[in-house]
């Protein structure tokens, strides 16, 4: 399974954004932009590269849907051409503001092309209208089921009104195409917001792949000061902008400033277009920033009081003014017309947007300080006016891109919409710092990345239930490990390991012509109609009795002491030993046997236990003193079982000079049977708690403890709270 991304535009450049992504048989076109810098065929993405069956004249079957992220022409400019001229009838998704504002941008562009430049029109007004009819508007976070398998969702991108990042999911494969986005809130828009999604692929813009920008407020102040200075001196300010977005942001800024400074200089919008755009902004105020949004009921922030409509005749009127004119990069149209007239005066000011496409006048003005600009062969403009560059572009900076990539942590990243050398640097950074595979394909290249796929199975309730209950196993690393590994590699902190192998109780069953099923191991027999066959291990092992005789004599009537009682005392000692040796596993001490997980040891009284094998010499130990522990266990606890057996066989269980801690621990086990736990629990002794919690005894069967002779106890905790009786019991009589 793979995701193929064919980059038709904005590959290692800015302009004509268009990426065609194929996921699990679905093909989505993200953006359908045009390049402002070209006038020939290069202005549109090369749609012929989109795979389609040969006898098809249009793209209806080869493209599942088109998604437009925002209304800028380099993202939507080629849409009417593609749908109406190339032919596409399928659904187009965009947010409500994008659907409302895109036709204005397209119509504006068409007019500039046809009416001013006299070009042959690529698409007509009718085309735009027809194209917009195919658009399905979506709300933010609205989860749209495009078809049975394809799901898309828009997230706030903050770049312009209605700009969105789009999430797409086909089957288990997921991706996000960011479009243009801004990670810091500005005057009228909020910052981009997205959920922490589990992504296979992120396609991100990278306009400012290496720039880190400072606070915007300083730049805003600078802009306002420049404008104020100019109008105070009677100059005219030309602000070439796109009709939408920047114009509104700057106008909010100016309105606010005008109010504060009590300025009366008129602010104009060219050709009514931008003023009408404000109408849209008013209705779409819920797509702006929180602060602006809250104003709607009392005073809609887009109700500009000082803004008026500009008339062509006012171009030569005396006196200061501020004019918003389209298009933004002075690539033609009204802003060029005004620029021609205002540029020769040193009193005037022209502000330029942060980014101008190569080939536009804006770009020429930005690069160096030209005094003369050649418009065409015959026209030359003297440029004496001041130039102020507005550098608050609503694109995220390098830090923002890194933040987003880090936040989403996709498996792969594709960078588009940027300049080649900078993208390469960012790509390196993403790969080295975040360890995420990153690509920066050029136009018409295809990047193929693997996608997630989940194997699906029907799970039984029992399995789900057992999985939903935590089933932690705590284990300490065995002492060998601590010596062998930990010392060498890391500090030997007592490594408590928590394992939770709930899933291992499940069994995946595949049967021909049936759905793959997951059942709990307990259910398996029922499902198969079989009977469980237990495979067990057993071994009746001889216990090192050692100084048992001595023990016998100390405990009085030796002849009467039956074998079982000796055995059970040994069992107690084994239990103590085990709780010392094994921290893992819950050692349960029942009266007649010990249990650790599936391992079970009991005193064997049978003369001919079948599990008591002949020892190596073929001789059974017939000694009367011999005590056997009959052990049995299942495969799961194999390792543990052999360890216990080796303890039984090799460690002398009598050990006269054993350390006080072992002694006391044993005593505590005795104590527990006297139900004096409460007294001990009052003590702060951690050690005690650790052992007793692991060794619950059968409470209702107090064991008889032999009278003791003298007491030698080295306390391992604060026993001051204990009463005398409890303290007296701290000695195991067996050993003394």
């Amino acid at each position: 399974m793979a995701i193929d991304s064919l980059v038709l535009g904005a590959g290692q450049e800015v302009g004509k954004s268009c990426v065609v992504v194929t996921i699990n048989g679905k093909r989505i076109m993200f953006d359908c932009g045009m390049h402002m810098g070209y006038l020939d065929h290069r202005r549109y993405p090369d749609f012929s590269r989109i795979p389609k069956s040969q006898n098809e004249s249009n793209f209806d079957h080869s493209i599942t849907c088109i998604i437009i992220t925002h209304f800028h022409l380099d993202h939507v400019g080629a849409l009417p051409y593609f749908t109406e001229v190339c032919g596409y009838q399928g659904p187009i998704y965009m947010t409500y503001p994008t659907k409302a504002l895109s036709p204005i941008m397209l119509e504006d562009y068409r007019k500039v092309m046809v009416e001013r430049r006299g070009e042959e029109e690529q698409f007509s007004s009718h085309h735009i209208a027809e194209c917009m009819k195919k658009v399905v508007p979506v709300d933010l976070k609205q989860t749209v089921q495009v078809d049975k398998d394809l799901q898309i969702r828009a997230y706030y991108a903050g770049h312009v009104l209605g700009a969105a990042m789009f999430y797409a999911k086909v089957g288990d494969a997921t991706m996000v195409y960011t479009g243009d986005y801004n990670m810091t809130p500005d005057r009228h828009l909020g910052a981009a917001q997205i959920d922490r999604l589990n992504l296979d692929l992120l396609i991100s813009e990278s306009t400012y792949a290496t720039t880190i920008r400072d606070s915007k407020y300083a730049r805003e102040r600078e802009f306002l000061r420049a404008v104020h200075k100019c109008v105070a001196a009677g100059g005219k300010v030309l602000i070439p902008t796109f009709a939408l977005g920047r114009a509104q942001e700057l106008c909010i800024l100016l309105e606010d400033y005008w109010e504060r400074m009590n300025l009366k200089v008129p602010i104009y919008f060219s050709a009514g277009l931008t003023l009408q755009a404000n109408m849209y902004y008013k209705m779409l105020i819920s797509w702006t920033s929180q602060k602006v949004k809250e104003t709607y009921s009392t005073h809609n922030a887009f109700d500009f009081k000082n803004a008026h409509k500009f008339d062509r005749s006012m171009m030569h009127a005396p006196g200061p003014c501020v004019l918003f004119a389209t298009p933004g990069m002075i690539s033609g149209g009204f802003s060029l017309e005004v620029f021609k007239h205002w540029a020769p005066s040193a009193m005037n000011l022209v502000t330029l947007p942060g980014y101008c496409v190569a080939g536009t006048i804006g770009h020429k003005l930005m690069s160096g300080k030209p005094t003369k600009i050649d418009l065409d062969k015959d026209t030359q403009i003297d440029v004496r006016c001041q130039i102020h560059q507005l550098s608050f572009s609503p694109h995220t900076d390098a830090k923002g891109i890194m933040d987003l990539v880090k936040f989403l942590s996709p498996k792969h990243v594709i960078l588009v919409h940027g300049e080649k050398p900078r993208m390469a640097i960012l790509k390196g950074k993403i790969q080295s710092e975040l360890g995420i595979q990153c690509y920066d394909p050029a136009n018409n290249e295809t990047v193929s990345v693997p996608s997630t796929h989940y194997a699906k199975a029907v799970a039984s309730d029992t399995f789900i239930r057992s999985c939903s209950n935590p089933n932690f196993k705590f284990s300490k690393r065995s002492s060998e490990d601590e010596h062998g590994l930990s010392l060498g590699t890391r500090n030997s902190t007592p490594g408590l390991q928590v394992s939770d192998e709930r899933a291992a109780e499940g069994v995946l069953v595949m049967e021909k012509s049936k759905k793959t099923k997951v059942v709990h191991q307990e259910e398996l027999m029922l499902m198969l109609g079989e009977k469980k066959h237990q495979v067990q291990f057993a071994y009746c092992c001889l216990v090192q009795t050692g100084n048992l005789k001595e023990a016998k004599s100390t405990s009085g009537n030796d002849d009467q002491l039956c074998k079982s009682e000796r055995g059970s005392r040994l069992l107690r000692r084994l239990s103590a030993k085990l709780s010392n040796e094994f921290s893992e596993g819950n050692i349960q001490d029942f009266e007649d046997h010990l249990e650790v997980a599936s391992f079970r040891a009991s005193v064997c009284l049978k003369e001919n236990c079948p599990h008591r094998l002949l020892d190596g010499h073929g001789v059974r130990n017939k000694s009367e003193e011999a005590v056997y522990f009959c052990c049995s266990w299942a495969m799961a606890d194999e390792k543990l079982a052999w360890q216990v057996i080796s303890i039984c066989q090799n460690f002398p269980m009598h050990e006269q000079n054993k350390g006080p801690s072992t002694l006391t621990r044993q005593s505590i086990i005795g104590l527990r049977s006297f139900q004096m736990v409460a007294d001990l629990e009052r003590s702060t002794c951690e050690e005690y708690k650790r052992t007793t919690h692991r060794a619950p005894l059968s409470e209702n069967k107090p064991r008889v403890v032999q009278p003791y002779q003298h007491v030698v106890v080295e306390p391992f905790g604060d026993f001051s709270g204990l009463d005398a009786a409890a303290a007296a019991c701290l000695v195991d009589p067996v050993d003394l």
Partner: protein, 748 residues
């Protein structure tokens, strides 16, 4: 990602103490008792086995009409979900809008403490007389003269608020009762509501608070926490029709009465409640506890009102509230997105008010899908438009005659459309009659309707795309044809006031708000017109304003799915299970359906059979490729033990590869019966010498076969029908024998 759900729930059933008190007063009925029994077991489930708890639905209230949506509790996957929490504002009609009648004020002045036994005797006689009189016909004096209390869904108080895990709100009307439960101790549920509903609901609540504030000034400070009118002795004497409103049929409803939002009136309760909201966008997927995926689709009833779908690992549920297929202002009922759910809860009770006769001409023809679709397309809006046109003509007639028009209708959609229609009619006739909207929240409300294109019908959305205002009122305000004031006594209103005029103002129950003042002013004018939404208690509503000269126009508007469309709708939605209100039974019994139908009744918990026997488990591919498959001896089947870590994320159960070292692949469970010959053969191939031994004579091992192993070490294998025991002291030998046995058995 939540790895597992914690077992959190303890089941302690407590009854709201004050409710208990009122039960004592009002003779608890047998129904209530059985209901109590039914709910005791509600939250006993622990979340760990969440998805295995059966689904249950308890209808708490059928509601009544547009203003009082139904209220249910749904148990799904061990979670308790409250569906809507309305407030019965029509019950306010038992109160007098003004402290007028002498007798009532006499009663009111009685100090609350004086009502002891001896006083009771004194009071008995006049009150008794009063009652006698009233049984003939009600008059304004019979209304309760006190600061009004508000009637909540009484059955909801039998539930412990802290056991509610989530609340789903489907309309602004469905959230008015929320502040009563959000302020309860231990309430911690998440409240899901669409952004638009949250905003409209908030405005409605704020308006209610401000109107209540005003009436409180009229009546003076409230009495003790237990007002006099609620005392049994006083209630007994109420006219029977009023008493029924207070107590309900069985007397159980007294417990539902609450003082508005807080005794000390403030907007704090409202604010508090709003802060607990989780606002969702249109069709936004939200996830509750990693298990339930909630999604809201437009229901068409009002801006922002919605139908919810709940997806759980054990099946998906759609909840249909009152819905309108073809709305003139809000986004239409989006039933396409409700398709494919396992279960539908049909909770549109509007048919109860509509009283239509339905002839079902459905037969199970093959083209019933087509038929269904065509039936759904029958235009409702035409009829609705006709109603509005008629209202409009009445309004014009009235103002032409020099009378004023009062429209105390609170339905936002109706107001917005009437504004447009009346103003255009006035324009056509060139009549200069001002229109006023008087409400504390009107300005905000109108501004809000113009910024929610996402929740409006297609025609309104087109206006956005054309750059025109979504509703005409923006222009009307600009042109000074429509004036918006917060109260009747605002100075701007006094400056502007002009009669005849057309006034929209709350409240529709004619007990609160500016409508009361205006109605008192105009009720004697025979040229004036009052436009009311028809309801069961219109007579009672108008009681305090009698005798009335004013004309009254009652109209009813579509507020839900028409009965004849229910069948068609369900056919299209194709659920497996449908829960219908019992009241729908006579209409649906004749048709055999592809889905199974259950009928629910108020106050009864309906257990729903499980929708899915098994849930789906998704396994990461990298994990799945590592599985070591075992082919079974039976053939055609292979199996493997799972490993990895189990997650529940966004309603999906997933197994992802954990960083655990894969445990050994030795089988832990065996089945089948081993053949000894095969075993010996296998052992010998592994270099182990073994002989078949005779079973020892001991009784316990009669059915056992023994295999003695001599080389490389001593071992004994005891094979029985269902158990094999390997005894040896040699660890490696033990595991070789184990494997040998494993190879002659099936195991995993």
């Amino acid at each position: 990602m939540q790895k597992f759900s914690l077992p959190l729930h303890y089941s302690v059933f407590t009854v709201h103490s004050s409710i208990f008190k009122s039960f004592l007063f009002s003779l608890p009925s047998s129904i209530s008792k059985s209901f109590l029994k039914g709910t005791c077991s509600v939250s006993t489930s622990s979340l760990s086995t969440a998805c295995l708890v059966p689904m249950k639905l308890t209808c708490l209230s059928k509601g009544g009409g547009y203003h009082l949506p139904p209220c249910h509790i749904l148990n799904i996957c061990g979670f308790t979900i409250l569906l809507d929490c309305p407030l019965d504002l029509s019950a306010l009609t038992i109160f007098s809008p003004i402290p007028s009648s002498s007798e009532a004020s006499y009663l009111d002045k009685e100090s609350p403490n004086s009502l002891n036994c001896s006083d009771l005797l004194d009071l008995e006689e006049p009150l008794f007389r009063k009652r006698q009189k009233v049984e003939k016909s009600l008059d304004a004096d019979d209304l309760i003269c006190a600061v009004p209390w508000y009637k909540t869904v009484k059955n909801l108080h039998l539930w412990n608020a802290s056991f509610i895990d989530a609340v789903l709100i489907s309309s602004p009307m469905g959230m008015l009762g929320l502040p009563f439960i959000t302020r309860m101790k231990g309430f911690s549920a998440k409240i899901y509501v669409t952004e638009a509903t949250a905003r409209l609901g908030q405005l409605m609540m704020e308006d209610l608070v401000s109107m209540h504030m005003e009436i409180r000034q009229l009546f003076g400070p409230e009495e003790s926490s237990f007002p006099r009118w609620m005392k049994w002795e006083v209630l007994k004497l109420l006219p029977s029709s009023l008493r029924r409103l207070v107590l309900g049929k069985d007397g159980g409803e007294l417990g539902g009465w609450m003082p508005l939002y807080r005794v000390l009136l403030s907007a704090a309760d409202v604010k508090d409640c709003m802060q607990k909201f989780l606002r969702v966008k249109y069709a936004e997927e939200t996830c509750y506890n990693s298990t339930l995926i909630l999604k809201a689709f437009s229901s068409g009833l009002e801006i922002g009102s919605c139908n919810w779908t709940i997806k759980s690992p054990k099946g998906s549920v759609g909840f249909i509230s009152s819905s309108i297929f073809d709305s003139a202002h809000a986004m239409n009922f989006d039933y396409h997105d409700l398709q494919g759910n396992d279960m539908m809860i049909y909770s549109d009770f509007s048919f109860l008010d509509a009283a239509e006769h339905v002839e079902s001409d459905f037969d199970n023809a093959s083209d019933c899908q087509e038929l269904a679709k065509s039936l759904l397309n029958i235009d409702d809006s035409l009829e609705e438009r006709d109603k509005l046109t008629f209202i409009c003509s009445c309004v014009i007639d009235s103002v032409k005659a020099g009378g004023s028009v009062l429209i105390p209708i609170s339905r936002l959609g109706i107001i917005l459309q009437l504004l447009e229609q009346i103003s255009s009619s006035l324009d056509v006739l060139n009549l200069k009659v001002p229109m006023y909207i008087i409400s504390s929240v009107a300005e905000e409300l109108l501004a809000f309707t113009n910024i929610v294109p996402e929740w409006l019908c297609k025609e309104r959305q087109e206006k956005l795309f054309c750059g025109e205002p979504l509703f005409a009122h923006v222009m009307l305000i600009n042109e000074k044809k429509l004036h918006v004031f917060p109260t009747v006594h605002s100075p701007k209103l006094l400056m502007n006031w002009q009669e005849p005029c057309i006034v929209f103002s709350p409240h529709w129950n004619l007990r609160l708000g500016p409508a009361v003042h205006l109605l008192r002013r105009w009720c004697g004018d025979q040229n004036s017109l009052l436009i009311l939404e028809s309801g069961p208690d219109v007579e009672l509503s108008l009681l305090p304003f009698k005798p009335m000269e004013m004309k009254v126009l009652q109209c009813s508007f579509l507020s839900g799915i028409r009965l004849q469309k229910v069948e068609a709708l369900l056919k299209i939605l194709e659920p497996k299970v449908v829960l219908l209100p019992e009241d729908l039974k006579p209409n649906s019994s004749s048709i055999t359906n592809s889905f199974s139908t259950f009928h629910y009744r108020v106050n009864e918990t309906l257990r729903i059979p499980s929708l899915k026997d098994n849930s789906e488990l998704e396994m990461a591919t990298d994990l799945a490729t590592q599985f070591k498959w075992r082919n079974l001896k039976q053939g055609n089947m292979k199996m493997t033990r799972l490993n990895g870590e189990f997650f529940v994320d966004h309603g999906r159960q997933r197994l992802l590869s954990g960083n655990l070292e894969s445990s050994e692949s030795r089988p832990l469970v065996h089945w089948g019966s081993p053949s000894l010959e095969k075993l010996l053969l296998v052992l010998s191939t592994r270099g182990i010498k073994a002989t078949l031994g005779e079973a020892p004579s001991g009784s316990e091992s009669r059915s056992a076969s023994l295999v003695h192993v001599h080389h490389p070490n001593q071992a004994l294998v005891e094979v029985r029908e269902t158990i094999t025991v390997i005894s040896t002291a040699d660890e490696s030998l033990a595991s070789i024998i184990f494997e040998a046995i494993g190879s002659v058995l099936d195991g995993i």
